[in-house]
Amino acid sequence: MSALLTVRDLAVSYRGTGGPVQAVRGVDLDVAPGEVVALVGESGSGKSTLAQAVIGLLPEGGSVTGGSAVLDGTELTGLSGRALRTVRGARIGLVPQDPGVGLNPVQKIGTQVGEVLRTHGLADRRSAPARAVELLEQAGLPDPGTRAGQYPHELSGGMRQRVLIAIAIAAGPALVIADEPTSALDATVARRILDHLDTLRRELGTALLLITHDLAVATDRADRVVVLRHGRVVEQGTPAELLAGARDPYTRELLDAAPGLAVTAPRDRPAVDGSGTPVAEVRDLVKDFPLPRARGEWTRGTHRAVDGVSFTVARGETLALVGESGSGKSTTARLLLRLEDPTSGQVLIGGEDVTAVRGEAWRRLRRRAQLIYQNPYASLDPRFRIREVVTEPLRAFSVGTARERDARAAELLDRVALPSSVLDRRPAELSGGQRQRVAIARALALSPDLVVCDEPVSALDVSVQARVLELLAELQDRDGLSYVFISHDLAVVRRVAHRTGVLRDGRLRELRPTAELFTDPRDDHTRELLAAVAGRRAGVVT
């Protein structure tokens, strides 16, 4: 089978302050007509750069420094702007990463789809609107006629991604490049989008180059998987080959780390003694947020973010709360820590009612319950040295002398497996994983009983995620810590939680031991969430 796209020894570099930075270093890649090839790698692996180089849309400062990319007989590198424009849209379609910002906010949907057709002379002013509606229908957008007359902000994220798909397939290209097409979407929506892409591809015979950081998605969807690291191909093969036994150590690490594929069974956790006083308990928690006042109205509406949630957390237990965005899981966590005030309901920490504590009593609460934020970049003061970050809780409660605090800082860093040499660095000098370890060290400084982890690994690369999760588990085993673990990622939750609660629209749909919940979900929404977890083809999760 002759290849549709043939990339040979392609090299791309960026102009940086310290000289050129090599992003892609001699990559070979073939995509046959109608084939699905997944390009997998972590951030910085060069996977997006490769795609951008193929369609000639490298950001400013980037340039192809060697090699070739041939599309069906046309050499793409070094093509003039004008010639490239006859390729883009017409022969290669692109589905971009974030549907939230991928569409022009002040242009109607129909016009944006029609623009492809008109640009390539496939329709004129009169025929374009009708064709656009057909394309939207083909992309699986319900009620396409109405949608075509709407603006992007009137559509949900999933619908916008369908519009972008309609744009990508509009001119009937031989190849569609999908750059992380679903990573900004909720899991259930993402699954439907990927399914539809699959169907379309089969109907139209289009080849698909799927770029993703998620090995589970790749093995689910692709005929062939290409693993990229530091701008080089380290491994390629069919999903079955990779799962059966990857040759490259990095690929094996990725496979192990990919939560959805977790080949190793979830490790055994010591049983939790649920008989004593729970470390934390919430009863009938409700939180209403005022909506912004609508113009011309005097009363404000409210939005119920958390609606009658109750649970307990035992000593040494990890309780996970999962749900899609807007399900109220983060708000619940903040209420538990009293960073927000509940509208009604009770919060008990160590059996003591703290629902209404203020001032000094509120501050003392910090010694018993701590928080690790999702974003390790924003939660550390950029001006502080790591030493100051880690000792800040100790200073706040005047624990020990300055020297004792310094010693404690070094000890805490040691516990989160960071060298004490980072003590004098500032957050900007650390990687994301290191920063999250610093945040964990800070949370542990006062030896709390309860640590609330709000999506603690979702901002990190997969291989880094695995190591941070291991660290959290170790700390729990050693100190009997309790965790409330907030996540949208069921695969992550399955590895860490003793019990899992599923939230939707502020309500706790079911709360059961994790293994039970995963093998025998009772709630429809839970089932839907589980079905959306990538990696099904590997047959591991269900």
Binding site: P393, A428, S431
Partner: protein, 311 residues
């Protein structure tokens, strides 16, 4: 405009950095040595010749303001009528005016008054506006609403008209002009200070500090103030440039110091009648004003995070 374009995949790794203090390297920590401070400054400046020129101009202006004799030993008020209206040349490199006075000497000696007025104006704007903004941003609620509505009203009146109204009431003179310009600048300071205070107060690291038990005042002192200070300082420097323009415009209109004293604006006004025959009497002082403002603006941009972003 930009010098560094990291590939988007590297950008993924370095998400929004609240203080713009730069970003982590591609793979793990950057080895930023504390030893290389001087070398870094040198490298920073070598890449920015415009900034170096701006600093030189400001240093010269400051010298003129404090020790004018160093730059121009002559007497600005004494002229030689035999040397009237000489064009710029070797002896008088800014030329001479209709009374034979050296324009360079007059510009140098005018710096003190002009700068005094500017500094006073910025100080008034910074202190009053800064306090209003800090109070509004930190207190929030009703007080915020009230103060900001007041600021909105001030912004509805063009600055120069507000200054003119104040001068109508206060009378003429360098100090009065300075106060008038300063009060007209209060609104923009209040807005920026409030926005910065709010931004930092709502940032995750401030909440994180509260969440580990740090007291409210300690948080304000250790986190909010240092992180909000940068942009406000940059605005103060920028405002300095605007104030030079406003003060010189009012002095050009004749509201500044009375005749024997010379300010930059009034020097330009003096030359107006001889514009057809001796352009330099007008042109040179104006050029100095423009150069000063341009330099100050350049330095403001450098203060506004350019140093932090350069690695």
């Amino acid at each position: 405009m930009t010098t560094l374009h990291p590939p988007p995949e590297l950008r993924d790794r370095t998400p929004p950095d609240p203080a713009g203090t730069g970003s982590a390297g591609r793979e793990g920590p950057r080895r930023a040595g504390r030893s290389g401070g001087g070398a870094r400054l040198g490298r920073f400046l070598r890449r920015r010749p415009g900034l170096v020129a701006a600093v030189v101009v400001v240093v010269l202006v400051l010298t003129a303001a404090f020790v004018p004799a160093l730059l121009a030993p002559g007497d600005p008020a004494v002229g030689d009528t035999a040397q009237r209206m000489l064009p710029p040349g070797p002896g008088h490199w800014f030329g001479t005016d209709h009374l034979g006075r050296d324009v360079w000497t007059r510009v140098v000696h005018g710096a003190a008054l002009s700068l005094q007025a500017t500094v006073l104006a910025v100080a008034v704007a910074l202190v009053v506006g800064g306090l209003v903004g800090l109070a509004a941003g930190y207190a929030g609620g009703r007080l915020d609403e009230l103060l900001m509505r007041g600021v909105d009203v001030l912004l509805a009146i063009p600055a120069i008209l507000l200054s003119l109204a104040l001068i109508t009431a206060l009378g003429f003179g360098t100090v009065k002009v300075a106060i008038a310009v300063g009060i007209a600048g209060v609104a923009s300071f209040a807005r920026v200070t409030r926005a910065e205070t709010l931004r930092v107060r709502r940032s995750l690291y401030v909440e994180a500090a509260r969440a580990v038990g740090t007291r409210r005042l300690t948080t304000l002192w250790r986190h909010v103030l240092p992180n909000a200070a940068g942009p406000v300082t940059a605005l103060a420097v920028l405002e300095f440039g605007l104030a030079i323009l406003a003060v010189s415009a009012l002095s050009f209109l004749g509201y500044g110091a009375p005749p024997p004293a010379s300010e930059w604006g009034s020097l330009v006004a003096d030359g107006r009648n001889y514009l057809a025959v001796a352009w330099w009497i007008c042109a040179m002082p104006g050029l100095v004003i423009a150069a000063t403002v341009l330099s100050v603006n350049r330095i403001s941009r450098a203060l506004d995070g350019e140093w932090g972003r350069s690695v």
